[in-house]
């Protein structure tokens, strides 16, 4: 049997298993409404929340882009580890805060939260549209990533275009049927395979090619030392110096806690303490992110000369070169699931935001939120697939634009939830300025600017405008709700962490 047939068989069986897992997960939830589909009925315990959120964070970028960056630049790629670690720490406070607010008011998404805070349904719709614009490139990123994986592990017998379509078809079918609970179930399979394969590769590859980890690291220090400090192999002209690393870490760590997919994970939790426990253990998963970076640098010695998008395949070049076909298939499955799980949650979140915040503005669709949300998932997936065929881009750049844009929602949403004086006018003006600054800087090629992440500069401008307009402009009138109905301050009271708060129910 040819290696391609073996690898594709392993892959195919795993994809079937994935869909079956998704179906099993939703069997008991049949007939549930939007809550059951989009936030798992707010019933997921610590293990499911851990695997789900780890699954969202460890995407195909980790296998492809991270190894590619490791190959091209080296240390700068560790910004991913830095911001995820800091973000999980911030999530210790923000997660329970958003969970409590959403549960109290029956909210299912970030756009829903914004609409409730400012009592403007149109604002929810606007946030949903904006978030979709920033999320779609991410869906495209996962389609591209999975397509590349499928094509590579089939040793080229499955072409890229067909592989992209397979990625779209499997994920769309999977998420429409299974919702968040199904994603959590599949995450168990995905995380098990990721831990198994990366744990194996980090031992096997140095042993196979260099005689041991010590020898590999020694050669790296002696021969490729530029790769081991900032700004990495690209030098100062790459822009990935200390300032960029620090500013990107700060910006992304704050953004990740309000990233709509993270919020979906928060809202799926069965109680606030599940999220606090999760914040302790999630950062440990980041240790795995060192593996693709190290394997990317290992590829410098084994397959030198990869240029451009080829460098994204640095890890898979080592895998296909050194492992038997079934091993290639297994690593491929882990990488493919690292696309499917995050992509499923991205699409689910887009569907949820549109179903609840946009389409429900039409009275006819108000009682069909779940069906509308599932339809939007298909439309969003189709759009992302079309973008993949017509507007391909490099992996990392897309994810950075997503984060920089999404970061601009921070003052409107997060500050708005803790500061009553924040006005709708202030939040919207700040958001407009922030998004405009990001677009101008990124699309004119000025990111980073003065060595600082453009998104952080835009966020500073956004915050200054939002606070100034809120303080100096006319105060909000006509909103006579009490502070506890508008703000999310309960997390900061003693009662939030008291004994009575721990064993919550969904």
């Amino acid at each position: 049997m040819s290696p391609a047939v073996v690898a594709v068989s392993v892959f195919g069986v795993s994809m079937v298993l994935t869909v079956v897992l998704g179906l099993l997960a939703v069997r008991r939830e049949a007939g549930g409404g939007l809550d059951a589909w989009s936030v798992g009925g707010r019933s997921l315990g610590p293990v499911f929340i851990w695997v789900l959120m780890a699954g969202e964070g460890y995407t195909s970028f980790s296998y492809l882009g991270a190894a590619g960056w490791g190959y091209n630049y080296g240390a700068p790629v560790l910004y991913v580890v830095a911001y995820m670690s800091c973000g999980y720490a911030v999530g210790y406070v923000v997660g329970p805060m958003l969970w409590g607010y959403a549960r109290k008011h029956g909210l299912v998404s970030l756009s829903d939260i914004a609409a409730h805070r400012y009592r403007r349904p149109w604002l929810g719709a606007a946030v949903a549209v904006l978030a979709t614009v920033f999320l779609l490139p991410y869906v495209q990123l996962q389609i591209t990533g999975m397509g590349v994986v499928v094509s590579t592990i089939s040793y080229g017998t499955i072409g890229l275009d067909l592989a992209y379509f397979l990625a779209f078809a499997v994920t769309t079918a999977f998420v429409v049927v299974s919702g968040l609970r199904g994603s959590a179930w599949v995450s168990v399979l995905k995380d098990s395979l990721v831990i198994l394969t990366l744990g194996f590769l980090v031992v096997y590859v140095p042993l196979h090619y260099f005689g041991g980890f010590g020898e590999f690291f020694g050669r790296l220090v002696d021969e490729k030392s530029e790769w081991l400090s900032l700004p990495g192999h690209g030098g100062e002209t790459s822009g990935y110096g200390v300032g960029w690393f620090a500013s990107t870490t700060v910006l992304n760590s704050l953004t990740v806690v309000i990233f709509p997919t993270t919020v979906a994970g928060y809202l799926g939790a069965r109680d606030a303490d599940t999220l606090r426990r999760n914040a302790v253990w999630l950062p440990a998963y980041n240790v795995l992110l060192f593996v693709p970076m190290l394997l990317g640098t290992a590829a410098l010695f084994v397959v030198p000369g990869l240029v451009g998008a080829e460098s994204n395949l640095a890890l898979f070049e080592l895998v296909t070169d050194s492992l038997p076909a079934w091993g290639v298939g297994l690593v491929g499955v882990a990488a493919a699931l690292s696309s499917i799980v995050p992509m499923a949650v991205f699409m689910l979140v887009i569907g949820t935001m549109w179903g609840r915040s946009v389409l429900s503005l039409a009275p006819r669709l108000r009682h069909r939120e779940k069906g509308a949300a599932q339809l939007v998932v298909v439309v969003a997936g189709t759009l992302a697939l079309a973008m993949t065929y017509t507007a391909p881009n490099t992996l990392v750049r897309l994810s950075l634009i997503s984060y920089e844009g999404m970061a601009q929602l921070l003052p409107l949403v997060l500050l708005g939830l803790v500061w009553r004086r924040m006005t709708l006018r202030g939040g919207v003006c700040g958001l407009g300025v922030g998004v405009a600054v990001v677009c101008v800087l990124v699309f004119s090629g000025h990111d980073p600017l003065w060595g600082v992440n453009a998104g952080l500069l835009a966020l500073v401008a956004n915050l200054a405008v939002a606070v100034s307009v809120s303080l100096l402009g006319p105060p909000e009138t006509g909103d006579d709700r009490r502070d506890e109905d508008v703000l999310a301050l309960e997390e900061f009271t003693d009662a939030a962490v008291g004994p009575a708060a721990s064993p919550g129910r969904g």
Binding site: A75, L78, V81, A82, S85, C86, Y88, A89, V90, Y92, V93, F217, L220, V221, S225, L228, S229, L230, V242, F245, A246, T249, V250, S253, R276, R277, A279, V280, W281, P283, A284, N286, V287, F290, F492, D494, V497
Partner: protein, 58 residues
């Protein structure tokens, strides 16, 4: 915010990862210390969050 920190000062542990990954970065940016440092910071982050949680549980 001041009131929150006075009541739950252990939440300051949540800033510890920022110290490790951001504040001291210029001091550790050399070969081969940087990668080792970032790895250590990654391992220590769960400990910092655990200390914040331990304070909350008391």
């Amino acid at each position: 915010m001041n009131r929150v920190i006075r009541r739950r000062p252990h939440l300051l542990w949540l800033l510890f990862p920022y110290v490790l990954f951001v504040v001291v970065l210029p001091l550790v940016n050399r070969v081969p210390l940087l990668v080792v440092w970032l790895f250590g910071a990654t391992v220590l982050t769960p400990c910092a969050v655990a200390l914040a949680r331990r304070g909350d549980r008391r």
